[in-house]
Amino acid sequence: MTLSSSQFMSMPLKGNLEEYFNIFIFMAVAFGISLFLVLLSFWRGPKRPDAEKLSAYECGFEAFSDARLKFDVRFYLVAILFIIFDLEIAFLFPWAVSLKSIGLFGFFSMLLFLGTLGIGFVYEWRKGALEWE
C-alpha cells in the first residue's frame, strides 16, 4: 500500500521557512558568542611568545618528527563501517515514521534490506574487521 497523493497533500506542513530562519539566528548568536569569547581573551591576555612556548608539546625534548604520522588502518575501517551503518539508519528514519501506513509490506521490505546488511555485518565480523587487540 502506498500513500496516495491526496493523502500526502493533506499532511500538515509544519516545517516552514520561518522556523529555519529562527535556527539560523540562533546559530548566528551561538557562534557570535564563541567568537566574542576568543577575541576577548586575545585582547585581555598577555602576548609574550618565545620559541619554546610555541613548540609542540613532547615530554620535555624537541619534537623528533612531524606529527602527521602514518596511523592504524583500523581507524579507516571504523570510518567506512560507520558510513554504511549511518546510511542505513538514514534509510530507517522515514520508514519508522510511516510504518503504520505502509503496514506488513513495508515491514517485510525493510526486513529484506536489514537481512542483506546483516549478512555483510556477519562477514566483516568473521573476517576480524571489528577486532582491536
Binding site: 516545517g15 535556527i23 540562533f26 591576555g45 609542540a56 604520522l69 581507524f75 560507520f82 528514519f93 519508522a96
Partner: protein, 326 residues
C-alpha cells in the same frame, strides 16, 4: 519577511535560552567538583564566595586572562576555528529543544534529525583540533575520539529509530506528547540503558574518556590549547552533557510531562519537570565518573560494535513487528 522588531525579539528569545544555558554549564563544573568531592569524603571548592559558589566565575576570569598560544607548527586558521565550531555547535542544538508545551525557538517537523545532524558534526571540531595542532598527542587523541564517537553514534541512531517507531513523528514536541500514557523508558528499558551508555561515550566522559587519558595522552586532542580556546572545548563538553540529558529526558522520560496526570503533579509547570529530569540525568553522569574505572580501547570498540549494534538492530525489528501486528 521579517522586520527589525521581530528580529530583535528573536535574538532576545535566543539569549533567553543561551544565557541560562551558559550559567548552567558554569555551575555544572562546580556541581561536578562538589558531587565528586562528597563521594570521596572531601569538601570540594569552598573558598571563592559563599560555599565556593563564585568558583566557576573565578576559573573563567583566570582563563580569560591567560595567553592564547598558537604553536608555530600548527595550522593557525583551523587551530582557532576548531574550538569555535565545537562550542558553537553544542549551543546551536538547543534551538529545537522544547522546554514546555510550545516553549521552543524553532518547532521544525524534523527536530530529532536536526539534533542527530548537529551531534554528528561535533566530530569535526575534534578532528580539526587534533590535526591542526600538529602534535603527536593531540593527533592520537583526536583519532581515538573520532572513532569512538562515530561508533556510538550508530547505536544512538538506532535508539532514535525505535523511539520514532513508537511515537510516529520526528517532531520533538510530538514525541513528548506521545508519552502521555506511558513514558518510553518502560517499554524500551534496554534502549534507555544503551542510550545512556552511548551518551557517555559520545560526550567522551568517564568511563569512556580514553581520548584524554591523562596517563598516556596527557590530555588528548586539546593538549596544545590554552586560555579561552581551551575553555571553549571544556565548556563544549559540559554543554554536550546537558544536551544529552535533555535528549534523554525527551526520548525516554516524557520531557515536560509530570509523572502522573493527576492534580498535585499537574500543578507544577512543565519546565520544572523537564529541569528536574535533566538534573537527575546530569547527576548520573557525575555519579558514573566517580564510580567506574576507565575502559580499555578494545573493550570500548567491542561493546559498541559487537554488543550494542546487533542488539539495538534486533530491538528495532522487534518493535516494528509489534507495531505492525497491533
Amino acid at each position: 519577511m521579517v522586520n527589525v522588531e521581530d528580529l530583535l525579539f528573536l535574538i532576545g528569545y535566543t539569549l533567553l535560552i543561551i544565557i541560562p544555558l551558559l550559567l548552567a554549564v558554569a555551575y555544572l563544573t562546580y556541581v561536578e567538583r562538589k558531587v565528586i568531592a562528597a563521594m570521596q569524603r572531601r569538601v570540594g571548592p569552598n573558598v571563592v564566595g559563599w560555599f565556593g559558589l563564585l568558583q566557576p566565575f573565578a576559573d573563567g576570569l583566570k582563563l580569560l586572562h591567560k595567553e592564547t598560544i598558537i604553536p608555530t607548527q600548527a595550522n593557525p586558521f583551523l587551530f582557532i576555528v576548531a574550538p569555535l565550531l565545537t562550542f558553537g555547535l553544542s549551543l546551536s542544538a538547543w534551538a529545537v529543544i522544547p522546554f514546555g508545551p510550545g516553549m521552543v525557538i524553532s518547532n521544525i517537523n524534523v527536530g530529532i534529525l536536526y539534533l542527530f545532524a548537529i551531534s554528528s558534526l561535533g566530530v569535526y571540531g575534534i578532528i580539526m583540533a587534533g590535526w591542526a595542532s600538529n602534535s603527536k598527542y593531540s593527533f592520537l587523541g583526536a583519532l581515538r575520539s573520532a572513532a569512538q564517537m562515530v561508533s556510538y553514534e550508530v547505536s544512538i541512531g538506532l535508539v532514535i529509530v525505535t523511539i520514532l517507531l513508537s511515537a510516529g513523528s520526528l517532531n520533538l514536541s510530538e514525541i513528548v506528547e506521545a508519552q502521555q500514557n506511558i513514558w518510553f523508558i518502560i517499554p524500551h528499558l534496554p534502549m534507555a540503558v544503551i542510550f545512556s551508555i552511548s551518551a557517555l561515550a559520545e560526550t567522551n566522559r568517564a568511563p569512556f574518556d580514553l581520548p584524554e587519558a591523562e596517563a598516556e595522552l596527557v590530555s588528548g586532542y586539546n593538549v596544545e590549547y590554552s586560555s579561552m580556546t581551551f575553555a571553549l572545548f571544556f565548556l563544549g563538553e559540559y554543554a554536550n552533557m546537558i544536551l544529552m540529558s535533555a535528549i534523554g529526558s525527551i526520548l525516554f522520560l516524557g520531557g515536560w510531562l509530570p509523572p502522573l496526570q493527576i492534580p498535585p503533579f499537574t500543578w507544577v509547570p512543565g519546565i520544572v519537570w523537564f529541569s528536574l529530569k535533566m538534573s537527575f540525568l546530569l547527576f548520573v553522569f557525575l555519579w558514573v565518573r566517580a564510580t567506574f574505572p576507565r575502559y580499555r580501547y578494545d573493550q570500548l570498540m567491542r561493546l559498541g560494535w559487537k554488543v550494542f549494534l546487533p542488539f539495538s538492530l534486533l530491538w528495532v525489528i522487534l518493535t516494528a513487528g509489534v507495531i505492525v501486528i497491533l
